[in-house]
């Protein structure tokens, strides 16, 4: 069984960049779902089995911080690990996310930053041996 990932970002280009990076990371990938804002992200979480959420912060309709807060308030969803990939530069907001157990990757990112953070969060065992 592969890892199912939800990518939440209002930029289709950024979703595509993250998707491509994940596909090349050596992760044993299942399905990749996409959402353009936090509300769409919550809907995707309710309708699909998701193992990892990768979300932006600044998005229309519902931002990533609120989406994660709502996700973690739902018993069946709160254990899903989340990584925020954002331009966010506020130490206060990053600390707030870290206290929720959320990992943070700053844009612009390198493919290695995404791969290593996913590996830290999910463990080496969900990566193909060649990627260890």
């Amino acid at each position: 069984m592969g890892v199912n990932i939800l990518i939440v970002d209002d930029s289709a280009v950024m979703r595509s960049m993250i998707r491509k990076t994940i596909e090349l990371s050596g992760l044993q990938l299942g399905e990749i779902h996409q959402a353009a804002d936090g509300r769409e992200g919550l809907t995707a979480l309710e309708t699909h089995w998701i193992d990892l959420v990768i979300a932006d912060i600044n998005m229309p309709v519902m931002n990533g911080e609120e989406m994660i807060e709502r996700m973690q308030a739902v018993p069946g969803l709160k254990s899903i690990p989340a990584i925020v990939v954002s331009t966010e530069g506020s130490r206060v907001r990053i600390d707030r996310l870290n206290r929720r157990g959320v990992r943070f990757i700053h844009k612009p990112f390198s493919p290695e930053m995404i791969r290593d953070t996913v590996k830290d969060v999910l463990g080496c065992e969900v990566f193909h041996e060649s990627a260890h």
Binding site: D10, S11, A12, V13, M14, S16, M17, K20, N58, P60, S86, T87, E88, G89, S90, R91, V92, R93, K107, P108, S110
Partner: protein
């Protein structure tokens, strides 16, 4: 006050172009080149928080396909749509803004960045006091400009605790 912030803007733009789109840009002033003479594809983002304002980033139309192609890892840039090119430009201005604001407002400052938009004829131009950076790339040019409203700045580019009223210039 203007010059250090222009340098800051240039630094963030160069770094972002290089890391996100593998485009290498050089200051036009360093090259001794003149002002922007060609129409640029331009995206704008507004922000609010300790400072409010707008940031614009414009790029030669001739470089738009390369920008989107590099960001998307597309092998055939001829198939990229105008929408994909504009989306790439909007994401670029978003990242430039996100990386610039902490340098202006400090690491503790919380800003809200709006959704980037492609600048059309309806958008009012930035004021003459906006801080600007002009750069040369292979095959084109780019221009970044930021206009600040009233704010209290403590970060790089200005003195600690200095209050800036009106547009920065």
């Amino acid at each position: 006050m203007n010059r250090p912030t222009s340098e800051l803007l240039t630094g963030v733009v160069v770094d972002t172009l290089e890391k996100m789109a593998f485009l290498f840009a050089f200051s036009q002033e360093a090259n001794g080149s003149g002002a922007v003479t060609e129409p640029l594809e331009t995206a704008e983002v507004s922000f609010c928080g300790p400072c409010s304002g707008r940031l614009q980033f414009g790029l030669s139309a001739s470089v738009m396909t390369e920008l989107a192609g590099n960001m998307l890892g597309a092998e055939d840039t001829a198939t990229l749509s105008i929408e994909e090119q504009h989306d790439a430009l909007k994401e670029l201005v978003n990242v430039i803004c996100g990386n610039l604001l902490p340098a202006i407002g400090g690491q503790e400052a919380e800003f809200s960045i709006g959704s980037p938009q492609i600048v059309g004829a309806a958008q009012p131009p930035l004021g003459p006091a906006a801080v600007e950076s002009r750069l040369t790339l292979e095959g084109g040019i780019c221009r970044a400009a930021i206009e600040l409203g009233e704010c209290r700045l403590t970060g790089a580019g200005v003195g600690k605790g200095q209050n800036v009223k009106g547009h920065m210039g």
